[in-house]
Subunit: 139 residues, 2 copies
């Protein structure tokens, strides 16, 4: 069981505290009454799927003794035009940097994350089509 407590502060600003003890500020755009002091709730889903898949990929590349020097994940979310404007498509681009990186190891780590381990991906794919690509930058 994971928990979060979200408390209203002012305007449309909220502070969420997760069971791990960490807090984040959330807010909305000025156009809808917010003050843009923090990420929007929907943005957390995109950061979450990036962090979750990244965690899997780093762990697996490490086990495969890959000499990586960096990993970036560009996440794009497309939402429906009508309310409730849920995400319908989420795309992830994985950019792995390192020395003598094996393309097989990268493909396998992404495949294991996307199809076996990533809890955020598995939660979001009930509503959204999840697609992904990768790029390797040898240094």
């Amino acid at each position: 069981m994971k928990n979060a407590k979200v408390t209203y502060i002012q305007g449309l600003q909220f502070v969420g505290v997760a069971s791990s003890g960490h807090a984040i500020v959330m807010d909305s755009d000025p156009g809808v009454g917010g003050n843009n002091t923090g990420p929007k709730p929907m943005e957390l889903l995109l950061m979450g799927i990036g962090g979750c898949s990244g965690t899997d990929i780093i762990s697996i590349l490490r086990k495969k003794q890959q000499d990586f020097t960096g990993l970036e994940i560009n996440v794009k979310g497309e939402a429906a035009e009508d309310y409730p404007k849920k995400f319908t498509n989420i795309n992830l681009e994985f950019i792995v940097k390192g020395r003598n990186i094996s393309e097989d190891a990268v493909k396998r780590s992404i495949d294991l994350s996307m199809n076996k381990y990533c809890s955020v991906k598995a939660t979001l794919e009930g509503s959204s089509k999840i697609s992904f690509s990768y790029k390797i930058i040898q240094e």
Copy 2:
């Protein structure tokens, strides 16, 4: 279209930057190789559904000229035991505080958020059963 860029830092720590320009740190427990320096990716989903529904409820209570002084949302997420351990049940408890708060207004604001407006709820309910309750504290 919403975007996020997630960059690996060290250990299992990542920094996500959302299209709004705001950044958050994500991390994992020491038991799996993290350093617990930020919320876990799955926790972002729970904070996100709390912030999203809270934003709707505050906006609607304001339109209904309710004299609220606070709103807290306690979110509990139950995940499957087997990989990918996606959320299967999410429960929200809304606690509205204020003076002469109309129960009808509270019920209506929650109903509109849960069944019409909340994008995060609509995205997560593809995988998770979402339940909720409310409490009003008159001050």
